[in-house]
Amino acid sequence: MNLTLLILLPLLTAVAILLMRNDAQVKWTALMGASAQFVLAFCLLFAFRKERALGNIAQMLFEFHYQWFPSWHISFHLGVDGISVAMILLTAFVVIAGVLVSWNVTKMTKEFYFLLILLSLGAYGFFMSLDLFVLFFFLEIAVIPKYLLIGIWGSGKKEYAANKLALMLMGGSALVLVGLLGVYFGAPNHNFDLMLLSSMHIPIAIQKICFPLLFVGFGVFTALFPFHTWVPDGHSSAPTAGSMFLAGISMKLGGYGCLRVATYILPDGAKEYANLVIVLSTIAILYGAFATMMQKDLKYINAYSSVSHCGFVLLGIGMLTKTAMVGAVMQMVSHGLMTALFFAVIGMIYERTHTRQVNEMGGLIKVMPFITTVLFIVGLCSLGLPGLSGFVAEMTIFMGSWQNADLFHRVATIAACMSIVVTAVYILRAIGQTAMGPIKEGHLSVGDARWNEKLAAIILIAGIVAIGIAPYWLNELVTPAADIIMHKIATK
């Protein structure tokens, strides 16, 4: 399977969208493109499993290599392992759902879909890059479309939010850049190639400088405390699909980067700072959860809960055990699907009730049974109900974290576990106030979901349930890759 397909396809879709004449054509082109991505992502999954089943134990499969800037030793190097495949699948899910829920965007439709597809391009490229320069390239590609999506199609304090998001993310990527350069020049021979770097021994002094830069840099993307403040504003101002992409894909770029770049190539740095990472992510988990409790706007609720949930990703990475790392990846996938779905539902509700304040809603089960059912499912997933993906991921992280036997890790794990209670509190509050209780006068005549919304929700729910009910396939996919990363950390 040729990985460049996954880059070419969004590119062609984007170009095709620009060439379309009317909104309907644009939408269908985008949907076809997204579906093709979806199919392609599954082809990748099956091809990957087939290769593995045939006994191909190379760390990266389907590698693609092209000398890009030879003088800098930059090559367009792509390849996937289980973690990448999982993230690519996630992206495909979110993209198709995002395209579907935006079906009734009327303002500048062409541009909207163009940016959505461009964002997906960035994400695919990022997850497949095995060259740090290329990785950084794709990381930044994914930022500006978000800015425009929020700024043009957003609501509320959109310009402030868009600015904040773009600047903070760019700040993060600036730190990443410095970290990457540090690695580049600190490594025994100057190279951006991830695989080569991982096999080199980078001096510990360099690692100690570069790890925090890289980790914090990527951490900004994934809402590392205290660099998370773009999350609530950004998510709440973004249009529905924008929030879905932001929380579903963009925040995962950071998590993936922390894992693949910071932790993998700088194992000593990771060890050095693991405790700090744990402290920060535990704070994010609890603090995010408690802050969520006080929110009244549905989007803010999900945004802050994203801070909390993404804390688990970083916690899983910081714990430096294989199980926790697998859990972190699972949490990324799970949270990506879940939060995308959550935002989709919020969008649907908002479109019908014209409010996102929970106390202005009530009893929506009566008028929109489908949407509220989805809301229940996603809420339950968020609070970690077994059978849905959130549970699997969180439990894996807990199990992995608990493998560290000292008191510090224990305390952190228990603190993180406590969030399952707080999560239940705020999720139930939100659901209880919106879906249940007496219905408000003005909402009696609103309708239920349309076909596109139903399809989007069903696709995402399928993903959530597929992980929740049968986690072993994801586990099997991710574990060997995590094994390699852990092995490197353990032996260094």
């Binding site: 006080m294 009566k366 229940f376 339950l380 199990m399 608990w402 493998q403 794990t413 249940m436 574990t479």
Partner: protein, 651 residues
């Protein structure tokens, strides 16, 4: 990959069908119930559960009488198991079915009560808008509960544990447009979630030391005093308490939450907001005893830690007494039943707490399980009966009732049987199980025994208070206009359950269920029974004196006991305490500051960075004065500055 399927016995698939059929019901009704099969959804779900119940009975028969025993000992059989999620070598969540006496017994109890409730609800909820949804939720609950009881892996149990929690949440909130129901379902979920936190951490500790999540292996490793796992678990200690005890205490907290034991009981009375059949199924017979089941499942491990067992016993007995006291004062009939449930579960729990492991010592274990079994029958019956009353009268309050025996004859009789059973009057079922519990307590701990004795008297009192208030008391008001008793669908379960409540006591329970799988001789000491029976009768007669006819004796007594009465009436202000802790402390002292901190400090810092940049930008604009001579000055100053800097300073 579907891990390892091992079909120990041919019945594997049939066994698998027991939980999966209700799940099928849930899925089908959930997906298509609203439109396609709205009319027949009840029948559909009921028939599925019927098959499931039949298979359970079949399994129970097969297990207890055919293949379950090996050399006189009931074996733990795992006919089906596959790896669901592998964490690390040896530690994995396996989905499987574990057959042993208690799980088989629970299969029977769950499917039976569930079937009764399914049938009952056909009439009880007829014509409801969300009828299919109701049945799909029931299906989900039945599936989860069955999955819980047959769990072969502690994490599997946790998974289904959560699932029953959520089904309970959904069913309590079934009347979603009532604010009180919404509040109740949230409360139920959150309180049990809080307890589950303990369970989860307990699991983490256990799995860490045992190196496995599989029940059988875990029990084996942590009960054999020579294994390194056991040694490390007992050697490691935190705050002077061994890791094993910590783990068990935490697991017990989970159980206590689910089983509504003091002080985590607050959700149970409120949970009565759900439809009454749901209360019968979930909040009386099955889900709330999950905590007892959990402790029973891990009993061998519990028996290795005396402090943990002690805690189990004391929490159990305190809950029993506490709930009984409150039950005496409540006026909502379902709440009375709820507190009574709590009290009975307290009985089961302390029975486990006072039990030892193996042989005669294991009397408490058998007694607890026995009581669990009989309690399921008569408490379900009580709830269903109460449901019939509520269905008839459209109210939960005692003051709206009275003299109903004429209108509801079948309900009256069956309710009476259940009251006798719970009060421990021979020869009804409750008598036998309660006797065993008291005996076990007597053999172990005198304090517990005496409290239990008093509580059993109180039980009789409040049950008959209930009974007389509903069916006797004031000869009320014409209810003729109302519909009858609810028809065959509602009466059939009542009758069937009353037969059970009357006769289940004669089952030689110890032959089947014991702490070590070997039959336990039930020794019946009639001398020992005198005190409980006498107390029970005293309770009954007191209730009769106070409530059979309309009078104000009860008020007088309540006045004379004003302090205690008020305390009990207000449920000892536990709810208020929780409200204080959550609203005042968690919300105001944690949540609000966190939100404030985020909005002002963290966000403020980010904004301040931006604003200060703009501020500086504004401040330095004067350099660009527009005067070319000033530019020249800065130019020359730059030259001179650089010259000084690089010639003298930074050489």
């Amino acid at each position: 990959m579907l891990g390892v399927f091992s079909f120990g016995i041919d019945l594997g698939w049939a066994l698998l069908m027991i939980p999966l059929l209700p799940l099928l019901g849930f899925l089908v009704l959930g997906l298509f119930g609203r439109k396609q099969i709205k009319q027949s959804s009840g029948i559909f779900a009921t028939s599925l559960v019927l098959v499931s119940a039949f298979l359970s009975f079949h399994t129970a028969y097969g297990y207890f009488f055919k293949y379950g025993k090996l050399e006189g000992v009931y074996q733990k059989i795992i006919p089906i198991q596959f790896t669901w999620l592998q964490f690390s070598p040896g530690v994995s969540i396996d989905m499987g079915i574990l057959l042993d006496p208690i799980s088989v017994m629970m299969l029977v109890v769950v499917t039976l009560i569930s079937l009764m409730v399914h049938i009952y609800s056909l009439a009880y909820l007829k014509g409801e808008e969300r009828f299919p949804t109701y049945y799909s939720f029931l299906g989900l609950f039945t599936f989860s509960m069955l999955g819980l009881v047959v769990a072969s892996n502690i994490f599997q149990m946790y998974i289904f544990w959560e699932l029953v929690g959520v089904s309970s949440f959904l069913l309590i909130g079934y009347y979603y447009d009532r604010p009180s129901a919404v509040a109740a379902c949230k409360k139920a979920f959150i309180v049990t979630r809080f307890a589950d936190l303990g369970f989860l951490i307990g699991i983490l500790i256990l799995s860490f030391y045992a190196g496995t999540l599989d029940f059988n292996t875990l029990i084996l490793k942590l009960t054999t005093t020579s294994t390194p796992e056991f040694l490390s678990a007992t050697a490691a200690s935190f705050m002077g308490i061994s890791a094993l005890t910590w783990a068990l205490v935490l697991v017990f907290i989970g159980g206590a939450g689910k089983s509504a034991l003091f002080p985590l009981h607050v959700w149970l009375p409120d949970a009565m907001e759900g439809p009454t059949p749901v209360s019968a199924l979930i909040h009386a017979a099955t889900m709330v005893v999950a905590g007892v089941f959990l402790v029973a499942r891990l009993f061998p491990v519990f028996s290795m830690s005396a402090p943990a067992l002690e805690l189990v016993a004391f929490v159990g007995i305190i809950s029993a007494l506490f709930a009984a006291l409150i039950a005496c004062t409540q006026t909502d009939i379902k709440r009375v039943l709820a507190y009574s449930t709590m009290s009975q579960i307290g009985f089961m729990m302390f029975a486990l707490g006072v039990s030892g492991s193996g042989g005669e010592n294991g009397l408490g274990f058998t007694a607890a399980m026995f009581h669990l079994f009989t309690h399921a029958l008569f408490k379900a019956l009580l709830f269903l009966g109460a449901g019939a009353v509520i269905h008839f009268i459209h109210s939960n309050e005692m003051k709206d009732m009275g003299g109903l025996r004429k209108y509801l004859p079948i309900t009256h009789i069956t309710f009476l049987i259940a009251c006798l059973a719970i009060s421990g009057v021979p020869p009804f079922a409750g008598f036998f199980s309660k006797e065993e519990i008291l005996l076990a307590a007597y053999q172990h701990n005198a304090t517990i025994y005496w409290i239990a004795l008093i509580t059993s008297g109180l039980t009789a009192f409040y049950m008959f208070r209930l009974y007389f208030s509903i069916f006797w008391n004031k000869e009320s008001l014409a209810h003729e206009s109302a519909h009858g008793e609810g028809g065959f669908a509602m009466m059939l379960p009542l009758v069937l359950l009353s037969v059970g409540a009357a006769a289940a006591g004669f089952i030689p329970f110890g032959d089947f269920v014991s702490s070590d799988g070997k039959p336990l001789e039930s020794v019946f000491h009639w001398q020992f029974s005198i005190a409980p029976i006498a107390l029970g009768l005293a309770g009954i007669f007191t209730a009769m004196w106070l409530y059979k006819k309309q009078n104000n004796r009860s008020d007088t007594i309540a006045h004379s006991l004003s302090g205690l009465y008020k305390l009990a009436f207000h449920k000892f202000y536990v709810d208020e305490l929780y409200l204080f802790i959550t609203k005042k402390i968690i919300f105001n002292l944690v949540g609000r500051p966190a939100a404030w901190f985020d909005k002002n400090v963290v966000n403020g810092l980010v904004n301040a960075t931006g604003n200060s940049t703009l501020f500086i930008s504004e401040k330095i604009k004067g350099f660009q004065s527009g005067k070319v001579q000033q530019y020249a000055i800065y130019f020359l100053a730059g030259v001179i500055g650089l010259a000084i800097l690089f010639i003298y300073v930074w050489k």
